[in-house]
Symmetry: C3
């Protein structure tokens, strides 16, 4: 496959033998230096925990935050590497790039995220150190997610070096917007509808818009999937779908916070599946289902619950949100993505606009509404304070105000995504990054040693034998054809 | 593949463009309404938890049931969606339907299960509400499992609309039989040998028996697997196998109950693998292993431990149960399934009789025996009471009586499966459901947009090029053949 | 594929219809007997837990070790069965054997491990019983890992019966060396750099060295991968990579021990990915990445952290270790494996020397250095005692001495691997085990019922039809070619 289209047309220079190793080595060494200067264990992961326990009257090791968060962390970890990675294996000849580059940039991004988020959120100004624990690792994975979402729009059209740049800036922008939204505006966004999905989605779309390829049709024979690549993609879809309750609840409050968030997300996701199937079938002349919708739109409910899942949104409220997002996201795949390409000159390989950008934005505004509608009668006095963290400087903030700030936060996330993405896009236009030519996009041959599928040759021999022994008739016709 | 056999014979009307969306939309809206009326958060997932904690002298958030059950819940969730889903991808051209429809009906089933199980088990008669928490989600997943098992017998022969009907009734019947068995008969069945596997198995078999297709042989070219579809199925097998200890222990008693259940299930499963391999090899003239056995019979130990795993069945007892079930289940695949089809006119695509129905029934009776054999000397006074929940009205029930009730429960489960399945089967015989004709069963083309595997064309070109440059000799012979 | 090469050359007797079932049945029955005699539930998984709690003033069930270790156990379980299993599916026609035999030997190995490790570590000399709990299951999985690693060197060249023998001796040797290293030498090795990876690696290499096949090139057409088999292998890689923090932290001290170990492993693994990618790209003329490196060398950081991850190695220290091991491991795949085959006559199918043996050995020595460098100022008085378990007879042992013992432990592990492997290798040379001939290694046809991939035939028909209707031109050229 790759081979043959490697012959068409002139090649751009996709030689990354210098640039890719250089970027990986230099940036990894930089990480080591930064970690050496800044990163230390927090008191719960340090051997002084035994004294910490005594001084804080903690009776049991089970009170260590590790046991509250580690199972959720591992689920999130699976979503980042298997979920996002395999969701992007759907292309017939870009599965290596989908799962492999996802692996590379996530592994870099989480290190850079620990430093960036640390500077903004956990820097101890006395010691000048950043103290990390299990929650930091979860946040680092979240931070990568923003850049992985962006990768979805660029899949098959960029070089690994460009992806490293996308991640470097993506993580940086993420840390800043997150600081503004969560700290300055004091928004709640445990599952990141705003900070992760809206930001990541618009970040990727803006980059893809700047990198528009007018002649991408030259690779059109590689844009589709094959039967088994669609099954591989379902691995990604299902692990994302199953573990999304952990994603949204991973860093919410201990106890009822994590408990409620998981329930709400679970329900919204279930509801998305039915409306996605319904719309996918409706949209097709023969009522057949489209794997693209099943692989993606079924997840929209989880994205949209990112902000409000920890609130008292009620179980039926969660179902309603999932219901709507399944429809909206599938609708996006059917109509918006083609329009974006046609009118906005925006090529969005995985349709992240429909799965992340739009549902994320909606989730942000839904969160604002739910926050504004919160009341002591529903939450209880202490419950309201805990849920929205109305303590310290914010003790006097009302739910209405909170709702306003939540809405503002959503806008900040989108703005950061669009502006940051545009800038990064122009950086990536420089001719030094080894990106593929229009006629060999979506092709692993460009950056990977791809095995020759000899497997497919012997059957042809077999087939010829078959012809001799079994299908003499077919052989005849077949032969006569070739004679004619 | 699909294409070519789509030409054979006349087509039934498999048009689901109206019915499938209608069912999905209407039922999802019904769920929203029912949730709005009945479903609320329980006190552990509600923001009032903070007061609840104080009033109940709970010292730490870690005491929230969420932390006892969430890791097991996520494992169960993986079994339902990836385990069952991928186990059904083994067919060469029905992988989309296997994993995709499993996804659809589980997502619907768990919502309906929360309502139905809630009505029977958790309805607060003062408020008229159902209060849900993490344990409810686990039970909802369990409840789906019954219908997913039934799907195994119907795989490739029914339409998605029919599957939704199977799930609607399956979940309803499940909730009723579960109420009778666990509440009225006060049986113990934490892993659901009776309520999940025996019921689900016989439910599916009864449906399949009613829907017998005399001319199914017309699709025989699609019944088998291909190399990679068997590897996909191993993903399902392994996740089911690995997480079965979580499945059986997910809702057992805190502490020793979950601990012991996990150990027993782990051991029984390990033992099943060896006897399955042994019998699979023995049964084959050349001693070769059959993937069908490895994919399915290795799991029989987990099914059979569903009831007794929480009892003091002893580690070696678990090994013995696994030992026997590996043999029985493999034996079933070798001899019983063919007989069922030949003499009972029962077509069981995945052999659920061997993996679920029979081991489930056995598990129920083994549970009865183990219960009847329980003694204070082994369990300890309190241990015995805790394990069998001999409190309240049941404080005076003896272990012998308990054993009797356990056996009765098994029969109830089977009866519900057979009768309910037969009724549902007749409902599904109505010609309105869009099921496929005998000659295009097991074919994703019917309900899915299937990509054309162009991938397989270029190698032929390559092959021809190979012929020119490399295999001139082959080319010659090959050519002369076509000449002859 | 298999078919055609099944015709080449003379066959060895690969008939395992007697031996394989015999081994499985006899050994499983032996396990049942041994479990009956020795294995019992420990007090945390026994129904007497309720009394145990009272007598030990344990206030809550959440203090049961189950809740400290079960999530990590399940992650380890996934690594053993899906991780190792799918990592070995990369060969184009040995995926069944890779994942299937891994499944078989792990299921046997963990039972045998519970007995062997029990004898050495948990035998109660008053009652003569072995009491097992969740930690025993984790250790049993670890113990299997040694033999599964060895399988990596033998992949495709041995029979399932030989693998059972490899596992029987592997688990036995493991239990002995583990006893010497952890108990007699009182080393710390929570993640098993020494006892699992160094031992398992050298054990497999020694066996493979004894079983050298001079004419293995006769199977060379099957040694490579195909596109989708490489994607399957990535499933194994990613689950190993993601869950490695659980692997290393599964049996470390409650609280800070598990917490710190997870963080360190997470960081080392991330760092390995970047250096692996860098070196893989550098090593290739066109800078393309090699899937073999991405699938394996990215994991080297986790292996090397097996010993020191629980120490205060510092976050940047972890990054440095991962950095080096990614380079060393990739370097091994590029240069050492070919040399081993050429000069040492050692055929290492999966390159376990580079992924396990070498990084494991390094991890052992790094652990020794880190231990020797430990100080009260860093660890705190109690922290130092807890971390190195300086209690009882070891209360007076200094960190320097500890470092020496750690280094000695590494040598013991390697010695056991090499000597034990050589002996087992000679046992396996007996002509009774049904191993494949040189010309049908790496072929599932030998031990599995492999479906014929008819899937690949119809496209050829289609293709011919295409030629008639669409690609007349291609047909022409194509035909003329065949004329020439």
């Amino acid at each position: 496959m790759g081979n043959c289209c490697a012959y068409l047309g002139p090649q751009k220079n996709t030689y990354v033998r210098i640039s890719l190793p250089a970027v990986c080595f230099v940036w990894q060494i930089a990480m080591i230096v930064l970690f050496g200067v800044f990163i230390r264990y927090d008191e719960e992961s340090d051997t002084h925990w035994v004294e910490h326990k005594r001084t804080h009257n903690i009776t049991s090791d089970i009170e260590n935050d590790f046991y509250f968060r580690y199972p959720s962390f591992q689920d999130v970890h699976v979503m980042i590497f298997v979920g996002f990675g395999f969701l992007m294996t759907f292309l017939k000849r870009y599965s290596f790039g989908g799962v492999g580059f996802n692996f590379l940039i996530a592994a870099f991004g989480l290190q850079w995220a620990l430093v960036m988020q640390g500077w903004f959120h956990h820097l101890d100004h006395d010691t000048g150190k950043i103290y990390i624990g299990i929650e930091s690792l979860i946040n680092a994975d979240f931070c990568c997610a923003g850049s992985l979402i962006a990768y979805g729009a660029l899949l098959g059209k960029v070089s690994p070096v460009q992806l490293m740049v996308v991640t470097l800036f993506g993580v940086t922008l993420f840390a800043v917007e997150e600081y503004i939204i969560l700290t300055l505006l004091h928004c709640r966004d445990s599952g990141g509808s705003m900070v992760i999905h809206a930001f990541g989605g618009y970040y990727g779309l803006a980059i893809s818009w700047v990198l528009y390829r007018p002649n991408l049709h030259q690779s059109k024979q590689l844009i589709g999937s094959v039967y088994h690549s669609d099954v591989f993609a379902m691995i990604g879809t299902l692990f994302l779908w199953m573990f999304w309750p952990s994603f949204n609840s991973a860093i919410t409050d201990h106890g009822d916070g994590q408990h409620r968030t998981a329930i709400n997300t679970y329900l919204a996701l279930a509801s998305s599946v039915l409306t996605t199937v319904a719309l996918s079938s409706l949209s097709q002349k023969k009522g057949k289902l489209d794997m693209v919708h099943i692989q993606n739109a079924t997840l929209a409910g989880g994205v949209a619950m990112g902000t409000c899942a920890e609130f008292m949104v009620t179980p039926y409220g969660s179902l309603i949100i999932g219901f709507c997002c399944g429809i909206i996201s599938t609708f996006g795949y059917l109509f918006i993505t083609p329009c974006l390409e046609k009118y906005l000159k925006l090529q969005d390989t995985c349709g992240i606009h429909n799965l992340h950008a739009m549902p994320g934005m909606l989730g942000g505004f839904v969160g604002a509404i739910v926050a504004a509608a919160a009341s002591e009668s529903v939450y209880g006095k202490e419950g309201l304070i805990n849920t929205f963290d109305f303590v310290g400087d914010y003790a006097t903030r009302g739910v209405g105000t909170q709702g306003g700030y939540q809405a503002a936060g959503t806008c900040v996330a989108i703005a950061f995504g669009l502006v940051g993405g545009a800038i990064v896009g122009f950086i990536l236009k420089m001719p030094i990054w080894g990106d593929p030519a229009d006629d060999n996009c979506y092709d692993d041959e460009v950056y990977w040693e791809v095995p020759e599928d000899e497997e497919t040759i012997p059957p042809v021999l077999e087939y010829n034998n078959h012809m001799i022994h079994k299908h003499q008739d077919i052989a005849e016709s077949n032969f006569s054809v070739e004679q004619s």
